[in-house]
Symmetry: C2
Subunit: 247 residues, 2 copies
Amino acid sequence: MTGGKAESIVTAAFLVIGDEILSGRTKDKNIGFVADYMTSLGIDLKEVRVVADIKEDIVEAVNALRQRYDYVFTSGGIGPTHDDITAESVAAAFKVPLNLDPRAVAILESHYARGQFTDARKRMARIPEGADLIENKVSKAPGFRIGNVHVMAGVPSIMQAMMDAVAPTLKTGTRMLSETVSADMPESRIAERLAAIQDAHPNTLIGSYPKATDGKFTTQIVIRARDEAVLSAAAKDVSQAVTEISG
Amino acid sequence: MTGGKAESIVTAAFLVIGDEILSGRTKDKNIGFVADYMTSLGIDLKEVRVVADIKEDIVEAVNALRQRYDYVFTSGGIGPTHDDITAESVAAAFKVPLNLDPRAVAILESHYARGQFTDARKRMARIPEGADLIENKVSKAPGFRIGNVHVMAGVPSIMQAMMDAVAPTLKTGTRMLSETVSADMPESRIAERLAAIQDAHPNTLIGSYPKATDGKFTTQIVIRARDEAVLSAAAKDVSQAVTEISG
């Protein structure tokens, strides 16, 4: 910390719920989106988990994560079919009843034609007691927030719209800033210098990421800090080290 | 189970280690690969976690997952830089020392030119006591297996080569087979029928996956089972339901 301004840190975890990700059938697109979104908000995404559509697994993950982090976001399992068990699992995690929610019923009743708000669709109006709804501009069936847990859809376009609806309600921390220095060398050539620079700049996080392209290794060095002056001092040292080793 | 043949189930978890995934800087490519690979081997991937380059977080995740599943695979954090702390964290999880491993030293010494096997590169030869090495055909620095935990690189091409080296050593279960039925309707229209079909075919897993394309919703219904006859009986019922509802 420099400049006399206290840095505030807000943490989050993301829980992906769905057999289809674990079987490989669906390739997840939500983790990268949430990671970018949290970084841009100034919330530190600290952990991601993917679990199957199994009630006890969801309950355990929700309870572990909500105790550990400021916010939990979930995606998946809030549709109308028998394998959508996220709402009942989250209700079980919070030990509250799961009832038809009059607000959700009203939203869905006005969305479907008369007589088309079937029992299956009513599943999507079952909301844990005490939860707030999260608006779904894409397909109406709402998500919900209970405690610090935000339950969202798995379809990326709907999840993203729900995240936009949630964002204004979140407290955010001091944004993590970053600079990237590219080094045209394998990371082992610069490793010792980077370790020394990391030691000299304890309020930064210096990450080294090797990349293999056509059998040739290059390195991206990412310096992160919440304070701009701290960041640029460390980045300058990294750049200088890369230049010296290259030369 | 049918046909008198007992089904065997082997489970696994995948642990992704790295700040860069959580910050959004790097978009993970390994989860989908491991999910597909496990499914093709006949191993059930039951959980995925992503944690930061923080020792206590890695130790906790490794210990939770290795007790719960037959196998754990990790990716990331085994390079030569200061932020590569997976080996020391896994050693701590197993409460064993982390030493320079003569086998790993021999591999790396013969790989680098004389005098180029620097202290930084020696970090990559530190292996928890009692571990076996995992061959790295791409860039030589080995992964390792200790107990039921397989520690692999984060760079996708290297991770994939290591997985190929590990695969022949794994016990595998009865492969999960699957059939997919496409339904040109939102899933809420078929939800009640699917629930009844799931009840009638308890040895299958029927998943319903909505897809939004240009504001129109279609549904992919995936039926999974380890027995071919069981699978096709359930898939036939699903196809018939889709046809009836479409008609």
